[in-house]
Symmetry: C2
Subunit: 334 residues, 2 copies
């Protein structure tokens, strides 16, 4: 790809497309399985239950403090496998380029994506690029699909969750949502908030073998509130959260205060919510706090008999119902 | 999803998104593995080499004679596995919806996608939807990733291709490209050309167990010309095609004649090019012709010692070099 900008011809299946793939994608992502000439990557047999997950990524701006759409696309899919109790093995990558995207930016993002994959120990083994006409895309949309193999001692699901089980979160919530919001500059605000976008594999791995681990989830779109609702609905019980126990960085709290947002609805991209047997809570918390990613982990609530609601105990001793995210009160940040 | 049009709030992770997924996607695609509550689908262990492939889909118009973007997304991924010698097992689906897309059209397309998956015997087990703002998408972009297990007797690759090997095509070329071009109405042309978009699984399956099958490819973007170039480059030899032997429907030939296109560069979405040992050519051809999808299969050329060129013998006894698709002389149709 010699040109400074992506052209429609980079998607036509011909020479320019081949060169784009070779010089930008294969260059950064190359591995033994990624065969540019094959229709499908040939992989070794795997012993064990397979897991499959997929996610699409659209974020504006494409690069933000703490990450970019490339690393996000790897983390998101790695994290979905990790919290499901699976070790990520391979990824596929679909790229929707908008005509006019700067080559330099694409190269930066693909390198960042490759770095995130290396860090998580996964190989991008299959890919595809399409170029859409100017004005029909957002610069760059990505979709990543991950294949993993079961690594958790027991299958994780809400079916095993019982009243009394504890909720843990691995770190402060809302950093990613706030960082992207600020990076857009829409509100005339600036701030030092950095996205938490990261692989949660070490956090998930730390709990995989523990009896009493019921369920994990990474709170992305819809934030902690949405995960709490999924748990309440899936278990058919009340989730009770303690506001004072939920870690929120001062910078995030300040932005939310000014704009009237609740940080519990803001996306994280590197946190885990775990539901554990009460007997496991302190052990799991200690395991997380021993990791650099989990230093601020906290016990934030529990499941109790009752309607499928999410109740937040406020810092002043009161209670409020945390509504399910309904319409779109939040800027689109993921 | 009660509204007639997709809104940004259908992508926010909250109630509206959940309802969209339940009423439109799960309704059509439901199967034992598709767990709307899980981050990743849990699948049984598979004995054998795994294959992974992915493709992004952007087509305008979203529906055209003979198919739509939904069935295309399934066929494309199923076909990539099939020609690689793998039986497709599971698919994942990423959906990029543009704000304002009509609900009715989305429902039609998702149902068509589900029908194509049922026909190919694959289950869509994981999915994700994102909504992009009006003017940042093309109505609907899809990405599908497929997991398959090796079914061909031997691994298929260009490494096994030798001078003398024959090239077969399973049916007429350029139907898809022409049908989509006409459906756009850009040229003021109308015609009865119907896309060939279909699963090639039965065609691939018919050859999987045959010794002497070297390589298969479905000629999509860039058409037969691009596949011929891949073979020439991959083998390091000349591919020689006989113009008169390449099946082209009269309607396709007429449109190409008028617009000055070469049908060899037009996309197919339901054809296979196979490279076989010369001793297998007639058997393979007979196997294809016995199938409804392969009635018009033809022996179209061979590989010979020489530079990595593609030579076409014209109907008048001459020869021309078939260039690799360079810039973008063709309307974007896939």
């Amino acid at each position: 790809m010699d040109e400074a900008f992506v052209r429609l011809a980079h998607g036509n299946g011909g020479r320019l497309m081949r060169e784009l793939i070779e010089t930008v994608f294969a260059e950064a992502l190359g591995n033994d399985f990624l065969d540019l000439r094959a229709d499908a990557a040939r992989l070794p047999a795997v012993a064990g239950e397979l897991f499959l997950t997929t996610d699409g990524f659209t974020v504006e701006p494409l690069e933000f403090p703490g990450g970019d759409i490339g690393s996000l696309a790897v983390h998101g899919t790695v994290n979905d496998l990790a919290v499901a109790g699976a070790r990520p093995l391979w990824l596929s990558l679909d790229v929707f380029l908008e005509e006019g995207l700067a080559r330099e930016q694409l190269v930066r993002i693909v390198r960042s994506l490759a770095g995130a994959a290396r860090e998580a120990g996964v190989a991008v083994v299959a890919g595809d690029t399409k170029v859409v006409p100017r004005g029909k895309g957002g610069g760059l949309y990505l979709a990543t699909t991950g294949v993993g193999v079961r690594a958790a001692a027991q299958p994780l699901s809400l079916a095993g969750v019982r009243p009394g089980d504890r909720l843990l979160v691995s770190g402060p919530v809302g950093d990613h949502g706030t960082a992207v919001m600020l990076a857009r500059g829409e509100f005339g605000l600036r701030g030092g908030v950095v996205s938490d976008a990261a692989s949660v594999l070490p956090l998930a791995e730390a709990l995989w073998s523990m009896a009493g681990l019921r369920f994990m989830r990474d709170p992305t779109r819809g934030g902690l509130a949405q995960v709490a609702h999924e748990i309440a609905r899936g278990v058919g019980a009340t989730v009770r959260l303690k506001q004072a126990a939920i870690p929120v960085r001062p910078g995030v709290a300040a932005v939310c205060e000014m704009l009237g947002y609740d940080p519990l609805y803001l996306a994280c991209e590197g946190r885990v919510v775990a539901v554990v047997d009460p007997a496991l809570a302190q052990t799991a918390l200690a395991a997380w706090r021993a990791l650099p990613q989990g230093r601020e982990a906290a016990l934030i609530g529990f499941v109790e008999e009752g309607p499928a609601w999410v109740v937040v105990e406020t810092e002043f001793g009161g209670e409020r119902l945390l509504e399910e995210l309904e319409d779109d009160p939040l800027p689109r940040i993921c």
